[in-house]
């Protein structure tokens, strides 16, 4: 490490010092708010801990159980992965499409921007309770409307095939939050590029593919990672609405973690689960991060 420092030029060293200085608040926060709890969690994951009695050291037993004889671990991982695969692409594409619409410069757009943002501001429990009602197979709005057009709607949250998509639909309803971030990203595409392309006779479609999309890749990269993390952490919907059912169709990983930690008083095992999820998301993130050099364009 020292030799690394020695091999740097004066300018590089000055840059590095400024960089570290800029990062210093985060580093302090990292140690207090993250490193400390994570290290504690790691310790707990090596123990049997009921919360009530002091933790008992059991080495790697929790991890051995997780990987060799826990069918719930496998099924909850499967449900979570399915959810990520279903909701992530939908949210990325629909969020972008909505942002492009909201970016049109026509009168009254600020009202639409507010309207589409509303779903994203209502807190988890209220939204869940409302969707419970909304997708009620009997009296819910959706099935009532379907009934008017002669379609028998599914049982949604209590349908083996529809439970997971129902949760995904809920998350898509909140796409207005993602759209705002796209919208902010769209603002950093210099207007003169569009002007130049228009003069060159490029149509709207072409301008989107040649200018908007490439210059939006830093925002897309951000959204991809954030939505990935978010999707893996799906919890509230299972907690409030489905309780993991039916037949464990929505028994998501974090729901399993929560049940183990606070209902089954198995904090040691729950800690191992939490750390495993951390590693999985981290793996996906590193993968995306590694490939980003090939498809993310930064100005410089």
């Amino acid at each position: 490490m020292l030799s690394l420092w020695r091999n740097m030029t004066t300018q590089e060293r000055r840059d590095a010092k400024t960089g570290y200085l800029a990062l210093s608040p985060w580093m302090v926060g990292f140690v207090i708010f993250y490193a400390f709890p994570i290290l504690a969690t790691f310790y707990f994951s090596l123990t049997q801990w009921t919360l009530v009695d002091p933790p008992v050291w059991i080495g790697l037993d929790n991890y051995v159980r997780m990987f060799t004889r826990d069918p719930l671990f496998v099924s909850s991982l499967k449900a979570t992965t399915l959810f990520v695969a279903l909701s992530l692409p939908l949210k990325l594409v629909l969020g972008l499409m909505l942002a492009l619409l909201l970016n049109l410069k026509i009168p009254g757009m600020n009202i639409f921007r507010t309207v589409f943002f509303i779903p994203a501001v209502i807190s988890g429990v209220a939204v869940s309770l409302m969707w419970i009602w909304f997708l009620n197979p009997d009296t819910g709005v959706v099935n009532t409307l379907l009934h008017y057009v002669g379609v028998q709607g599914p049982y949604w949250f209590w349908d083996l095939n529809w439970a997971l998509p129902s949760v995904a639909i809920m998350s898509i309803w909140k796409v207005g939050g993602a759209a705002i971030i796209y919208l902010a990203g769209l603002q950093n595409i210099p207007a003169h590029l569009y002007e130049a392309a228009e003069i060159d006779g490029a149509g709207k479609w072409r301008r989107f593919w040649r200018i908007t999309l490439p210059l939006l890749t830093p925002t897309l990269f951000f959204q991809l990672i954030i939505e990935l993390i978010d999707a893996f952490k799906i919890f509230t919907e299972a907690f409030v609405i489905t309780k993991g059912g039916p037949l464990k169709a929505t028994y998501f990983f974090l729901y399993y973690f929560y049940e183990e930690a606070f209902r089954n008083f198995n904090m040691g095992y729950a800690s191992a689960l939490a750390l495993f999820l951390l590693v999985v998301i981290m793996g996906c993130t590193v993968f995306v991060y590694r490939t980003s050099g090939r498809w993310v364009y930064y100005e410089n």
Binding site: T50, V52, V125, D138, F157, W158, L247, N264, F265
Partner: protein
């Protein structure tokens, strides 16, 4: 110097010093502060909680109550966090999870020595199931809760069906539900149970889901009586006289029951509780109360619960804490909550004064309070709630969804033995028997 310290000044100074000392002495007798965590609810709303504190402090000027009023939905998380961190616990709180109980103060002797309160003042079943753990008194039961069947008289009259009586059987229930169901009015006859091994299970004859020594599930979750109970459930689902799980889950929050459908007149009968009973009465529903159906010859069970109010084992002021606990969860405190909120006290002498005590439905409700409680077993077996129920929930879901045939019930339950046994064996060494 002389001018400054003449006799007068000296006297003044000594008087001042005396005053300071005496004030200091008074400070040493400052009131003891007891911290108390509780929940605001319809039965025990914030004004009732404040009134309890006020009344207690008026009676005990040397004790101050520092109350924290919380929302129910995160109370469990908070208690778990506090217990896990081993820091920041209050003197008095609800200890409704069995695994929390090692952190409660044993009040057996204090209650015995109490001239104003005794265990006999409480409903016997409630005291034994919710205040006693391993033969020691770990708290006092605050309020009573119980499940029973509420039936909407208007729906029965409309369908021309006789009201149910206490001697009805589970199969009567299905027949009555069928007779009440009216698809045109979007009306169902009755609801479905919300979990296995509750009262109706035991009433059909099913025993506990695993052996008393917590070693085996074989022959319990898949025993002949359990099969009979699940088959009854299958018949109920098959009858089409009940709302689907989606409707039940959807309308009852936290699985407590479809009170909203019942009030809307779209459910002829529903297994609800005393909280729902008050809601329905306030909404002007014309209804009656009967115990859950049971098979003649079998003992009658009731699914019941109380809020366990306890003292933290680590309290610095056990005497003062007991003073307050016995006030709050004793006759005075529960009466205040009954009068200001709509609490149903766990003391028969106080419950008799309930404003609606003469009402027909209330008499029906009083009838279930002395029945044997399924809780007698559930409350002391954390492994059922936490681990085993999760392993057997697939069988439940399959029947609820109508995914299996009637003669597949036995095989489905047999398939649950292995995961349930594994869950039991994982859990028991951790949480005890």
């Amino acid at each position: 110097m002389k001018l400054l310290f003449n006799r007068k000044t000296m006297t003044l100074i000594s008087v001042l010093l005396l005053l300071i000392v005496s004030i200091g002495g008074a400070a040493a007798q400052d009131p003891v502060t007891i911290t108390w965590w509780t929940l605001a609810s319809a039965e025990s709303p914030e004004p009732a909680i404040r009134a309890v504190v006020e009344a207690f402090e008026a009676e005990h000027p040397n004790i101050k109550i520092d109350v924290t009023i919380m929302a129910e939905s995160a109370y469990g998380d908070l208690m778990n966090t506090t217990i896990g961190a081993g820091e920041g616990a209050p003197d008095i709180a609800y200890f409704w999870e069995t695994p929390w109980l090692p952190h409660t103060l044993d009040i057996t002797d204090r209650l015995e020595a109490d001239p104003d309160l005794s265990r006999d003042d409480y409903f016997e079943e409630y005291f034994n199931n919710w205040a006693v753990y391993n033969d020691r008194v770990v708290g006092l039961p605050f309020t009573v809760g119980a499940n029973f069947v509420m039936y909407n008289k208007d729906v029965f009259d409309d369908a021309g069906v006789d009201y149910p009586t206490a001697d009805w059987t589970p199969w009567d229930y299905i027949e009555i539900a069928k007779a009440l169901t009216d698809p045109d009015k979007r009306r169902w006859g009755g609801d479905r149970p919300r979990g296995p091994f509750r009262a109706i299970w035991r009433n059909i004859g099913a025993t506990k889901p695993y052996s008393d020594d917590s070693t085996t599930v074989e022959g319990y979750i898949n025993g002949p009586d359990a099969v009979a109970a699940y088959t009854w459930l299958w018949d109920l689902v098959d009858s089409g006289a009940t709302p689907t799980p989606a409707d039940i889950e959807v309308l009852g929050t936290e699985g407590t029951g479809p009170v909203d459908l019942f009030i809307a007149g779209r459910l002829g009968m529903a297994t609800l509780n005393n909280g729902h009973m008050i809601t329905a009465a306030n909404a002007g529903v014309n209804f009656g109360v009967v115990p859950e159906p049971h098979v003649p010859g079998n003992e009658r069970f009731v699914h019941a619960w109380a809020l366990r109010a306890s003292i933290w084992a680590g309290t610095e002021h056990p005497d003062e804490a007991y003073e307050f606990l016995s006030f709050w969860a004793g006759p005075e405190g529960q009466r205040i909550n009954m009068e200001i909120g709509a609490l149903m006290p766990s003391l028969p002498a106080v419950l008799e004064d309930y404003p609606d005590a003469e009402a027909d439905y209330f008499q029906g409700f009083m009838g279930v309070l002395n029945a044997t409680q399924t809780a007698e077993w559930r409350a002391t077996h954390p492994c059922w709630r936490g681990a085993v129920i999760r392993a057997v929930s697939d069988a439940w879901d399959l029947i609820m969804l109508g995914e299996i045939a009637r003669d597949e019930v036995q095989a489905t339950l047999d398939a649950m033995v292995e995961p349930a046994q594994a869950a039991l064996e994982e859990c028991v060494p951790r949480l005890g028997g």
